[in-house]
Symmetry: C2
Subunit: 428 residues, 2 copies
Amino acid sequence: MKSTVKVGIIGYGTIGMGTAKILVENKDLISKRTGKEIILEKLVDLDITTEREFQIDASLLSTDINDILENDDIDIVVEAIGGTNPAKAFIERALKNKKSVVTPNKEVIAKHGRELMILAEENGVDLFFEAAVGGGIPIIRPLKMGIGANNVKEIYGIVNGTTNFILTKMTDEGGDFGETLKEAQELGYAEADPTADIEGYDSSYKLVILSILAFGAKVDFENIYFEGISSISGRDNMYAKEFGYEIKLLAVGKEIDGNLELRVHPTFVPLTHPLANVKGVNNAIYVKGDYVGETMFYGPGAGAEPTGSAVVADILDIAYSIDAPLNRRNLRTDFDIMNIVDRGEFVSEYFFRVDCADECGVLAAISGILGKHNVSIKSALQKDQTEKGSELVFITHDVKESSILKAMKEIENLDSVFKVYKFIRVGV
Amino acid sequence: MKSTVKVGIIGYGTIGMGTAKILVENKDLISKRTGKEIILEKLVDLDITTEREFQIDASLLSTDINDILENDDIDIVVEAIGGTNPAKAFIERALKNKKSVVTPNKEVIAKHGRELMILAEENGVDLFFEAAVGGGIPIIRPLKMGIGANNVKEIYGIVNGTTNFILTKMTDEGGDFGETLKEAQELGYAEADPTADIEGYDSSYKLVILSILAFGAKVDFENIYFEGISSISGRDNMYAKEFGYEIKLLAVGKEIDGNLELRVHPTFVPLTHPLANVKGVNNAIYVKGDYVGETMFYGPGAGAEPTGSAVVADILDIAYSIDAPLNRRNLRTDFDIMNIVDRGEFVSEYFFRVDCADECGVLAAISGILGKHNVSIKSALQKDQTEKGSELVFITHDVKESSILKAMKEIENLDSVFKVYKFIRVGV
């Protein structure tokens, strides 16, 4: 029986640092829990001189990736550099060298997960990624095991901390998207290039991973319909409040009659729904199973220490079983092929607003177009008379997305309509 | 490698039936997930003739416990009879016969868990009890692993479905405890002898288990200070609403400077706190760790299928690793010895009400006593003038329980005071 387990971390960024910190500071607790000594053996980064918030002993630092990947002492490699290149190549080399891999990297798992899981299986080691979704929230392992006896019917929630931070701030302080993003960047809650977060890529990667686990289905990034939050304005937020909602970026996966509906988009969440109360960088994920019913997992979705906590959970799990022969805990890789529902088939209520001329016929014209496409109106509001004209605001009843898209196009073409703003889906 | 894993269930009650149902109905899904065929081999109960909601093939039923405990084909025993006798003896025999055991039995784990874990370890098999706390919510495994890298600082929440069902109904419909209990019994949400649930025993057993896992400490049932909900009246509920609270039965474990505070009692939960929104038989458990921060786990806390879902999760976990040598996933059994905080040291706000004579001096006398014991008043209310006199209602600021107990005693002895009702702690 191995009594010590040695860990190498690639990447001295936020998560690499957080992981190292926990391994060092909670060393005694961890060895008590696992019955093994878990040792941070090496941390590799191109930059090991810039001062960090948590400073690792210089003797453990290296700029040479081979000090981890070709180091026979190291049992577990933490890949914490993100992106696909060179992360994927590093993970592959580690697995081939019979090292288990832990990664918080949602992009590489969403895009190459199956391939890497098979490689792990072939080499008799583990590939774990608890930190790839939901930051510090234990969600991957509950999906593999905790509700593993269930057919999952739905999985949905808030899975991106940056956008939730921005949306919370916009709701609380009433600002517009651009200025709020800038503040979030200054506070370190959004990256210099915020595209992956704010345009919905990050949430989509996570939805791919959740769907693979929850539905056991082959899901690719290309299967996710996604929108970001960059078009959300202070005005949208104002109306959301007025109608009793809060805008959240949701990731939604549903199994409907054997088909999968997969989408990421801003949503009017009713204030009575607990997701409306998930603030700042927190995440919350609902899982509905055929026997367990509805469960929910909540916690910090980002940050060095919460994410490091999830990385170390994977390290513990590997350490517990390091003497065991390969088992199926990685994940089955014989995914089911399921039909992915086309965007046009989504059904939702929709909120949209229109700038138009202040003429008596406009509302009638718009209503006529909506009716023609079987879009029935739940609420309509004519709010402000501006110098240019009027603003009309609508919430529809449930309708197919193909219908609302056709109606929007026709409304845009009305002479008396100046601008149709992007619709926002309503309801969880 | 074993390709089939055989399960024997002891007890054809709610949970035994739910477990059997899932094993039978989701058989294909489970074997896909685990890579092994998991077979319900035998179900033993004294009564196998009464018709059940889910009827198990008669060939699998037996009244002879030896058909499971002495059956060499059976790998995993599910003990689903509850209580300590004969449950404990059955678990011991199963473990000694090298069978892994899964049990939803909180009482036997709370009272004899350590002893049984050691026995499991000695025999190289697993003893899992995911369903013993939180019904269908995966909470045990996240505590063992998901947040295993953290020192847990607090664990608290709603862990009993029956009392939460009763309290929710009292809040929504305004009834008193007695009549609501009767309705809950008629609906099957409370047992004929409801003592274990309503007097807080069940929540206390669960708090023992959560504390062992969260704090790694030796915690016994006798260490828990507990109160039930049978003294809660419609009038308490009315005042809770008026002050902006909802009454919930909370289980609370806190580590404060190396000491453990462990308590179960009805609590005024602020309506702004998510726990106030946990309705019916649902449970919700908060866990605060030194690195992960605050996480929360929510879902159905009772019922045949949710609880069965958790039992089957344990079966999956054992099946995954059935070929592996013994590992430490059971739990470390070298518990830390921690000081348990005495009831008198608890600090809280307190709500209490007093029936008294309608005289001008009473409020002054009560205030005087409170002041003498350093109990400062946050809110006071004189509500109804009855024929007998007045009702005075107080909420205090934070104060030590020893002080409020002394003050209550003196107030009771005032001539003009007819009755002092049991206080309720305020705040989460």
